[in-house]
């Protein structure tokens, strides 16, 4: 069975395993399933980074037409991932801190950490430095939805808050309450 990788319309290069029907079935054998889960995790993270997708929901496996269709379904081999399978994948990713349920205390939707909060913190700081916004107070919304597109465009507020928390710990930022929510003042690295 010669499986080959495939490039999606969005320009994403799917791995060859995505063309294998068993890949979409949740395997009872834990070892086999661990292998498949690792590939799935990597696939999800890679695709999320490619498309800059932050949220993955179980609903994405239930209904077609979402952002994730290119990896959750494979029309060429007539296979799709079952919601239950996706749900357990999310569980695994959350457990290995590659994702976090958002909102917390449920398991239907999660923020995919295609960058870890630390990496986001660095990215935020680098962006602030690059755009000359050190020592100014920025609201979370200004960061997540800047007038000029940035690497952080579209970042979910909870993820942003976690990134800022890291900056606060390393004394590179200060959280300030502002009228319309929260604000942050970034400092130059010491």
């Amino acid at each position: 069975m010669a499986l080959s990788s495939f490039t999606t319309p969005s320009g994403f290069l799917l791995p060859s395993i995505h063309s294998a029907p068993p890949f979409f079935t949740e395997q009872p054998n834990p070892r086999t399933q661990a292998q498949f889960t690792a590939q799935w995790t990597r696939l999800i993270l890679t695709y999320a980074r490619h498309r800059k997708l932050f949220m993955l929901r179980v609903e994405d496996a239930e209904v077609a037409g979402g952002d994730w269709d290119e990896i959750l379904r494979n029309e060429r081999i007539n296979r799709r991932i079952l919601p239950s399978h996706l749900s357990s994948l999310l569980d695994t990713m959350v457990a290995s801190e590659q994702a976090a349920f958002e909102p917390p205390k449920q398991s239907r939707a999660a923020i995919i950490y295609w960058r870890t909060p630390e990496e986001w913190a660095d990215a935020l700081h680098a962006w602030a430095v690059a755009t000359g916004q050190l020592n100014t107070i920025l609201t979370f919304y200004e960061i997540a939805d800047p007038p000029v597109p940035s690497p952080l465009s579209g970042i979910p507020i909870p993820l942003l808050r976690r990134a800022v928390t890291f900056l606060v710990k390393s004394n590179r930022a200060q959280i300030i309450s502002v009228a319309d929510g929260e604000g942050v003042r970034l400092f130059a690295a010491k």
Binding site: M1, S5, F12, L13, L14, P15, S16, I17, H18, A20, P21, P22, F23, F24, T25, E26, Q27, P28, N29, R31, T32, Q35, F36, Q39, R42, L43, T46, Y47, H50, R73, E75, N78, R79, R80, I81, L82, P83, S84, H85
Partner: protein, 635 residues
Amino acid sequence: MALRRYTTSIDGTIPAPALVYSDEEVLASQDNVGIYDGLQKAPDHQNGTIHVTSHRLFFVHASRPHALSFAMDLAHIVRTESYSGLFSSSPKVTLILDPDTAYDDITSISASTSTLDIAGNVGVSDQVNFASWTCEVCNHRNPPGLSPTAAKVCALCGVPRSAVPSSSSISSSLPSSSSLPTSVLSTRTATPDIPVKGTTSEITCPACTFLNVPSRTMCEICGTPLPISTAGASAKSAPVSRPVTPSGGGPNANESLIKISFRKGGDKAFYAILRRSLKAQAWEGRRIGAGTPKGGPGSGQGTTMAGGTADTGAPRRLGIGIDAILRNVETSAQNTEDDLNDAFKDLDALMIKAKDLVQLAEELNEKLTTSSSTTTEKFRTDTVPSFVSSAASSTVSAGSSRYEQFTATTLVPSTEPEEATFIRSSLSQLGLQMANAPITADMIKDERRWVEELARELAQVLQGSPNDFGRSRPGKAGPGSGVGIMKRRGIVALDEVWGGWNRARGVSLIPPSTFLQALPHLVTYTSPPIQTRTFKSGLMALHTPPYTHTAFAARLAGYLTIFDGMNTPQVAEEEGVAVGLAAEMVDAVEQDGTICRDDLACAIVGGGAGGAGGAGVDVRWVMNEWEGYQWDGQE
């Protein structure tokens, strides 16, 4: 002689129900019976029907019912014995008769002189009652046809009948029932059912001059009492014509018993009814008060009553009150117990005999087996040397007989001599083929050996006779001839093996626990070795080497590579095993991670509907080719 002294002749052409008294009833009948007079067969009474009524026994001769039938009062019977028969001897009921109640020879006109004095030989006791009479006290007209006892008292007022014309010819030793005869006249004439052959003259009615038949006591027209028929009297008083009684008239044991031989069975039921009838003592029935026979107002006939009557009457008159009921219950319980004891004694005796027989058969069979096994083994070593394995040679004898058990008849190794074959087949047809018999715990004392023997036996059941290997068996190509359960199948679930084994054993079935104990030993006795395998679900199976996990996994990998994925039924078909077993085996391989599943529930179109876990048949198995998968997608 008893026959003559206790019975009275009757006309057997009349159906039994018509012969009985009005208060008597026929309880049972049995044909094909013969009568023994004493210990000897009564030559004239060897084929007839016997009826038992509440009062009497009737014997109706089959071919000459008119001449050779008789009746006997149950009152004569002191005791009864039953004999259930043996081989050609028919079951019999012995009636031991009371010597004191025997008719005197004068009154009992011999049955053998039957036809001539027919009127006379309708026993006195019977005839007494066939007349109607008028009670002196209440003037009630008592109907005829009552039994002697019942006829003794007035049906209305219960006063004993007193006006008995003293009959000259009735002796003093009459039984109680006949102690109240009306007269010879009535005796004679009150039996309208009996055809009178020796009619000498009609009786002229003194009032209307109608010529009445001699049997009437009253004129048929006007009801006037008729004068005594002289003809009847002469018949009565003709003792000269009767055969001479044996001298020394004292009744001995032989004379006072009668046996009824049941040539065609029916004795049990008959005997039970007879006993019940005897117990009921219906002939004592309507007697009033205790002392009636002796102390009644009609003391005039006291002289006619023999002492014996009172003696025999007294102990029988127990059928009154709670005491009698209790006694009846006791008696029947006692009878039941006796019968049971007898039956068990018989059974014990039979078992002892049977044991000898079985032992004999066992020895014989053992001899045959040893001789045949040596020859067969020699034969095999000569012809098929390649086959000889230790297991085969050690189990050859058991194997051959196991073979026979499957084919159920006479099959023995063909090298056995003809005679041995014949003997063996005879034994097996008798169900005495001991080597065939399943091994039971009591045959082997040692627990370990018992289990090992069981394993050996099981091996035969599973793999069939070792004789089947290598050579053809002429004339024995019947279906399933000696083929064991696993002869053609590599893996069989344990439940099937257990069921098959117990079916082959037939008796002394093996409980599952013992079965499991025997399994580990199985590998020693089987070739190729059969092993036990427990699946993850707990299902256990026996399998041959090709069905070990690794061997199967290798084969499965081959199938999956060739066919590019298969579902479980396809695997089962390929392997020739049950789908359930195949599923278990495939699951076991999946546990290894060498294969993985492709659930059709994951199909976008078709297959599983909406991902509801209807998996199972829809699962396709494919090789797991992603063990060390290298990421070839987008970084």
